[in-house]
């Protein structure tokens, strides 16, 4: 049986391209999403725009807590969704904090989610390479599963930097 070289070449190319196609399908199916993605995935908030995530340690320094209060109020009317992750381990502490907080809006709606979970707080901070007990603010893009900006609240000098990153498209 004579094997036409052209046929052989075409078959090889077909096999090659099929292989690439199958490989890319498998790769996209098994793409590993970040921990933050797995959290945001479960929340019923608008994910079409960049999301502002605050990880808050209630025992952080006064300046850091005041920084969080200032930012959360200043960005409360932003069209971007926000997520608050509060480092609280026990239900009794959550109740105590809710009872005593009077100048931060923790209402959950389609543009805000509040998670009272110390483990989540630690995991997010750890995944971002920051020291665990610090309160952070991050700008996160759900579609690209990418953290655009992240800094401890104590190190934020200008709110404009946050606004610029909040509007960034990837």
């Amino acid at each position: 049986m004579k094997i036409n070289i052209h046929t052989l070449f075409s078959c090889s190319l077909s096999i090659f391209f099929c292989g690439i196609f199958l490989f890319s399908c498998n790769y996209s199916n098994s793409k590993k999403y970040s921990y933050i993605h797995s959290i945001v995935d479960t929340l019923s908030i608008d994910k079409s725009k960049n999301i502002i995530i605050y990880t808050v340690n209630p025992n952080d320094c006064i300046s850091c807590i005041n920084g969080f209060k200032l930012l959360s109020n200043d960005f409360s009317n932003s069209p971007n969704s926000s997520i608050y992750v509060i480092s609280i381990e026990r239900e009794v502490e959550k109740k105590e904090l809710i009872r005593t907080i009077n100048d931060v809006d923790f209402t959950i709606n389609k543009s805000r989610s509040v998670l009272w979970n110390k483990k989540m707080f630690n995991e997010i901070n750890r995944s971002l390479g920051k020291n665990l007990p610090l309160s952070l603010v991050c700008i996160y893009n759900y579609k690209m599963d990418s953290v655009i900006y992240c800094n401890p609240i104590r190190e934020i000098n200008k709110e404009e930097v946050l606004r610029e990153n909040l509007e960034k498209t990837l």
């Binding site: 209630p58 969080f68 026990r90 005593t100």
Partner: protein, 415 residues
């Protein structure tokens, strides 16, 4: 022959008499008592533990309250809270009056107390003269309306200059400052007195700043407070402290009223040579009363404050080992809790910049002062809480699980 044998026996006897045995201590099992949270919900481990008597300890809770607990039952006996103090009025009567016409103090409850409804930060205390002397501070906005000297400090600040340059015009500075007070409370937690802590002219002249939050001690009508030179400016928090034989550790003056300031424990008497700025703020400054003497530890060495005599040298510790708390046992031995910090194997950039190390060991150790060596040791399980209290017969600390906080104590005695 018998004579020679007798001489040998006498010499052997004398040698036994001269050889001092290192003290041998016995540590009991750890007692664990659930903390009563019916009055105060704990949101973090209590800090600054001090014993009021053999069964009662005083602690600071969440930088908001001074709380008394019964060690044996865990019952929260009483609490002192600042919620009844009207800081707006207090500031008007004290700092505002003092600086009337020169400065304007603006107190806002939303910035003063953090996330909850607190109105200040309760950071350290001492128990003396059957009263609690509690240090607290509250954040206020200050307008230097006619205080050009103070305003100059800010306008000459490098970061402010840079901001002005970037903006190309004058900037609006909102200056926030901590105003400091000592609140005196009796054993029933009744408020007796509030002492405003104005800047002391002598300290200012010597270019020292005080750090009450590191811990202070009251002895009679005198107060001993940590001080640091203003020219300890740093590139980063891990930079070494500037050292000079003329630098002092503590200032001593009358708690109330004007008095001369004395300086105690020079840097030649107590060693700060290996301290970074991070070490200075993270180490534990501990005071203990021994008969009529006041004794102080900077986390590495222990000295008598008045005489400057060194009782314990850092050479007895490993390089990365620190003293958390101690009990000085009448010139016999020192019972201490030490902890070891190791460099992280793969520190993040943040951990490098902030000098964050790993806590690797917490140990109760007995140091024999006669033999100048270590005796019994007992390693404790690592916790995330580094607040211990060593008394004449027990080690006290707090621990927690997912649902509760616990008061734990270990009794000890000499064999």
């Amino acid at each position: 022959m018998m004579k020679k044998y007798s001489y040998l026996l006498i010499i052997a006897g004398l040698m036994c008499a001269c050889t001092h045995q290192t003290s041998d201590y016995n540590f009991d099992n750890t007692h664990s008592i659930k903390i009563d949270e019916s009055k105060v919900v704990l949101t973090r481990f209590p800090s600054v533990l001090k014993d009021v008597n053999d069964s009662i300890i005083a602690v600071i809770n969440s930088a908001q309250k001074l709380s008394l607990y019964n060690i044996n039952s865990g019952i929260n006996i009483s609490n002192f809270s600042t919620e009844k103090i009207n800081f707006d009025s207090l500031i008007k009567e004290t700092f505002q009056k003092k600086f009337e016409g020169k400065r304007e103090y603006i107190y806002d409850t939303s910035t003063a107390g953090g996330l909850s409804d607190a109105n200040c930060q309760v950071l350290s205390f001492d128990y003396s003269n059957n009263a609690f002397y509690i240090y607290l501070n509250t954040l206020v906005q200050v307008n230097y309306i006619n205080d050009s000297v103070e305003l100059l400090k800010y306008s000459q600040n490098e970061k402010v200059k840079q901001l002005k340059k970037e903006n190309g015009q004058d900037i609006n500075l909102q200056i926030m400052q901590y105003l400091e007070f000592i609140v005196v409370v009796d054993e029933k937690m009744n408020l007796k007195e509030i002492i405003p802590l104005y800047e002391k002219p002598e300290l200012k002249q010597e270019k020292y700043s005080s750090f009450y939050q590191k811990g202070f001690a009251i002895n009679g009508n005198k107060i001993y407070v940590p001080i640091q030179k203003d020219n300890q400016s740093f590139e980063k928090i891990t930079s070494k402290l500037k050292w000079d034989s003329n630098f002092y550790t503590l200032a001593q003056f009358n708690v109330k009223g004007k008095s001369k300031t004395d300086y105690k424990l020079s840097f030649t008497e107590i060693d700060f040579r290996d301290f970074s700025l991070h070490d200075y703020f993270s180490s534990f400054f501990v005071y203990q009363r021994n008969s009529n003497e006041l004794i102080f530890s900077n986390g590495k060495e222990i000295c008598e404050i008045e005489s400057g005599e060194k009782l314990f040298s850092k050479n007895q510790l490993k390089t990365n080992e620190w003293v958390q708390n101690f009990f000085f046992n009448s010139n016999k031995n020192i019972v201490m809790v030490t902890y070891t910090l190791d460099k992280k194997a793969n520190p993040t950039e943040f951990e490098i910049n902030y000098g964050v190390d790993s806590l690797s060991r917490i140990t109760i150790k007995i140091f024999d002062l006669k033999n100048m060596n270590w005796g019994t040791k007992k390693q404790l399980p690592i916790t995330s809480n580094l607040a211990f209290l060593v008394t004449k017969n027990k080690i006290v600390y707090f621990d927690k699980d997912k649902e509760h906080y616990y008061l734990k104590y270990i009794l000890y005695n000499e064999n």
